[in-house]
Symmetry: C2
Subunit: 114 residues, 2 copies
């Protein structure tokens, strides 16, 4: 099944903050991790990822630092900030509320209001 891009919208930041909150990660790794973790359901691309990371960094929710890998390549690691954790907590709640609301609509038992 295809992922509807419009479903992804609004959750990407949450996904990124959540993923990075576990351990500092670099872009390419985040891409692979998220896609793997959702069994390929998400098809997160770099064209979506990097702008999002930059946005979150600019908002002070992430902090970036460069590191040299054993392979010799430079990697830009992203680390969550305290502000990031606060926002993440909010976004988690927001998601739960949203999912609940949707379920309320999709529930077969829902009575026709009015």
């Amino acid at each position: 099944m295809n992922t509807d891009p419009d479903l992804v919208r609004g959750t990407l930041n949450t996904i990124l903050l959540e993923t990075i909150s576990r351990a500092p990660m670099y872009g390419y790794q985040i891409c692979k991790t998220v896609n793997a973790k959702t069994s390929g359901y998400f098809n997160l691309r770099e064209g979506s990822l990097y702008p999002a990371l930059h946005r979150l960094e600019q908002e002070g929710l992430l902090k970036a630092y460069w590191e040299q890998a054993d392979t010799g390549r430079r990697r830009k690691y992203y680390q969550i900030t305290d502000a990031g954790r606060r926002v993440l907590a909010e976004k988690r709640e927001q998601w739960q509320a949203f999912a609940t609301a949707i379920q309320q609509v999709l529930a077969p038992s829902a009575l026709p209001a009015m």
Copy 2:
């Protein structure tokens, strides 16, 4: 808590199809019903609703007809089509898959992949 417009995006069509699938409804009624059904969590406005209804009608997922209410006012009722029911079924599945994927990311037990 505020509803993130970006979360609504991509689910509005599903919500509308689902709501209308139970019984033909007119715009104003849909607005009130959805908002009531989600305990005010959604704040569906006419500026979002009517364009969406028109879009769905143009795609052949809804069919509209006018009716005169007892009150004397004209109401434009929307009815789901067979194509609409098929798409709704898809969208329900899509939503479940999506919600599952998100849960997989948000699950505290998720192991750091890679």
